[in-house]
Symmetry: C2
Subunit: 117 residues, 2 copies
DNA sequence: AGGAAGCGTAACCTGTAGGTTACGCTTCCT
DNA sequence: AGGAAGCGTAACCTACAGGTTACGCTTCCT
């Protein structure tokens, strides 16, 4: 995930939702096999899942590893301003979610803009 | 930050607080200059700050870049389970913080275990 | 003053990440 | 059936990340 191309792929998948490999590849200046290998790395890292539909392979984001990373980063961002005891963040989030739900909140959807690339 | 050694250095700095370079170096099997360069990378990435005290150089974590990273990761971890509208996470956190403070909660500190390295 | 302590940098070597071209396998179309 | 579309993989090449040893500069001690 350190690689800039890989990050762009992830961002693309985030904005545009599931995309077939070729669709991803043609967005980059590098060759298609190169992108293909990047996708393989992402696959093996568990950051994306692939689903074969017909003769094309759709790639989707998998939030799992991202959550792990955020969890790892947590302690590093906390100690500064906050008072070292926000480990209950996730539970708080869940509480918030429940509250929102009961208040009846409309979902917004992920598929949004498609601008700067 | 992709490098495992670098991550270990960061974890060490997290657990043990500011440390001189040599103190960091002797925790690793690799040579001291190697660690020194890792520290330079971390310095240039802004992940750590250095302060010269006497003839030794103390390294400290800088939360800034970590926050950026978490911010970048945010959109990736949200879309799955939650209903796409947790952008108010930070404000929630602050609210939580206020609540905790008024309830009078003892801080725990960061310095904890010192085991597996 | 002068040696030791504490670090950083330079020069060098090697493994590997990431690019390219060539090739092979399915799946769809007519 | 057979060609085109859509992808992945293999083989190969090159640049760079990360390790080591050698060296130089301050700062402390006696």
């Amino acid at each position: 995930m350190a690689d800039p191309v890989r990050r762009q792929i992830l961002e693309l998948l985030l904005r545009g939702g599931p995309r077939p490999a070729g669709d991803v590849a043609e967005r980059f200046a590098i060759s298609r096999p190169a992108v293909s290998r990047h996708l393989r790395v992402l696959r093996r890292s568990g950051l994306v899942r692939d689903e074969l539909v017909g003769r094309q392979r759709l790639y989707t984001l998998d939030p799992g590893p991202f959550e792990e990373l955020v969890a790892w980063l947590g302690p590093f961002v906390r100690p500064s301003g906050w008072e070292h005891r926000l480990d209950a963040l996730e539970t708080e989030v869940y509480r918030t979610r429940r509250e929102r739900r009961t208040r009846g909140d409309a979902g917004q959807g992920v598929t949004g803009q498609e601008s700067t690339a």
